[in-house]
């Protein structure tokens, strides 16, 4: 029993059953609290109709095309920080100011400056990925043990080699942590931005999907969207980040 209670599958089943129990108790109107069966059925129909896959793809593509410039920018900024103390101070200040700022808060300004369009969502996602990534990379490089730097000095490494051979690989676990935080933040940013103006893009995205379902009073569809979001989050964590983290643990041991 104890082992069973420790598995997440057990809790998922239990939560699903209690959900269904509440629905069947008739305490709430089905529009407020739809049946799990209906939710899954709706998800199934929308999958078949192509509506859901298109929306998932649309959100994923948005995140993907925002991730690449964010990573490149974070690397460039880290590299420049290593070269110049002035730039480092500037980037640190920027990160401190911008890191806690929700991307969605920038929407009005971005629209004012760059006009309406899908690029707005990309910019918001870049904002939510770039700063945690930069902050993590910077702290990873700052935590480099003195002894590794001495090894580099001893063997006459150039500053370029020092960066690529010692600082960057040393900071890899921090980079991974930054990507993980960035990924979670990107999801939030994309969903909120899509809810605000999803129709700009072809598919609309998952945020628009959920929002749209509410407009048409399709509660099961609304919950289906949320369910899909949760499933996607778990899948990415399990098949992207967990293997990467296990790779680090296997090579470097649990403690860094």
């Amino acid at each position: 029993m104890k082992r069973l209670a420790g598995s997440s599958l057990f809790w998922i089943v239990l939560l699903a059953l209690s959900w269904e129990g509440i629905y069947r108790s008739g305490l709430f109107h089905p529009l407020v609290f739809p049946s799990l069966v209906d939710i899954i059925m709706t998800a199934g129909t929308d999958f078949k109709s192509g509506e859901l896959p298109l929306n998932i793809l649309s959100s994923m593509v948005l995140i993907f095309i925002s991730f690449i410039p964010s990573i490149i920018l974070a690397f460039l900024m880290t590299l420049l920080s290593g070269l110049s103390g002035t730039l480092k101070a500037l980037f640190n200040t920027l990160a401190n100011v911008a890191h806690p700022l929700p991307g969605i808060a920038l929407l009005p300004v971005l629209i004012l400056w760059t006009g309406l369009g899908q690029h707005i969502i990309v910019l918001v996602v870049i904002h939510s990925v770039l700063w945690p990534l930069l902050v993590n990379l910077e702290s990873g490089i700052e935590e480099t043990p003195e002894i590794w730097l001495n090894l580099g000095r001893n063997n006459g490494l150039t500053s370029r080699e020092m960066f690529f051979q010692i600082l960057l690989p040393g900071a890899y676990p921090y980079l991974l942590a930054g990507l993980k935080i960035g990924w979670a933040r990107a999801w939030r940013a994309v969903i909120s931005a899509e809810m605000i103006f999803g129709t700009i893009s072809g598919g609309g995205g998952l945020g628009w999907y959920i929002f749209n379902k509410r407009i048409f009073m399709d509660s099961p569809g609304m919950f289906a969207g949320i369910l899909i979001l949760m499933v996607l989050g778990v899948l990415v964590d399990r098949y992207v980040f967990t293997p990467l983290e296990q790779g680090v643990d296997r090579r470097r041991g649990k403690t860094l």
Binding site: I147, L151, N155
Partner: protein, 259 residues
Amino acid sequence: MNILHCENISFSYPLQNGDRRFIIRNFDFSLNQGEFLTLLGPSGCGKTTLLNLFSGFLPADSGSISFNGNPLTDPFPAGQMIFQDSTQLLPWLTVEENILFPLCRRRFPGFRISPGTDQKEKLDEILNLVGLTEFREYHPVRLSGGMKQRCALGRALMADPRILYMDEPFGALDTPSRIELQSLILKLWEEKNVSVIFVTHDISEALILSDRILQFGSPGISPRELPVNLTRPRDRKDNSFKELEWQIYSSLADTERIV
């Protein structure tokens, strides 16, 4: 023939009250080519500081240090440092990649290294010397403390060092691994004709290994030179060995009383 020569060097650390604490003052010293020198003394006496001065990691306040006649200002590949700390190996590289590090490195993180044929031959020879051939694909996290030190030693040999700087390299090891590594370093020293500067606080380790001992007392007072005229291979049970060990032991106890 001197390989390392220093003239009139002084070094001090600043203290909180504005004074300076001298570690070494107006010190002259020469290391002979192929000599095994030990810096011996209690912790905090300045052994590691002197090693860092000798290897170019620390600049002296005054005076000059030269390696092979050239002034020494920075660390250099021909003077390889081996630390006590087991984190000196790069954890993301395998044993063989760590050993190759001085000569052959990845161009970018995640790339594979491509050592030349002669580098590969040298790698095989060194792996064999330090006894890590079977563990060449391992990452450092899977090695024991002694194996890590042997790997660090192998990495230093890869750079074709003229001087090995060793900062209590076996300090964290158990007695059997320690003795094993002491024989290994002696074997390498004889084969490769390198000079060694070895820091330790263990009297018998100093006596087993070195040609000459610099015995540290209190900081600021120049260390005492002590030639070790025992025949090699040395035997810890030998009477002359024990006598010398006792002599050093009592003189160390003396300096402690003065302090």
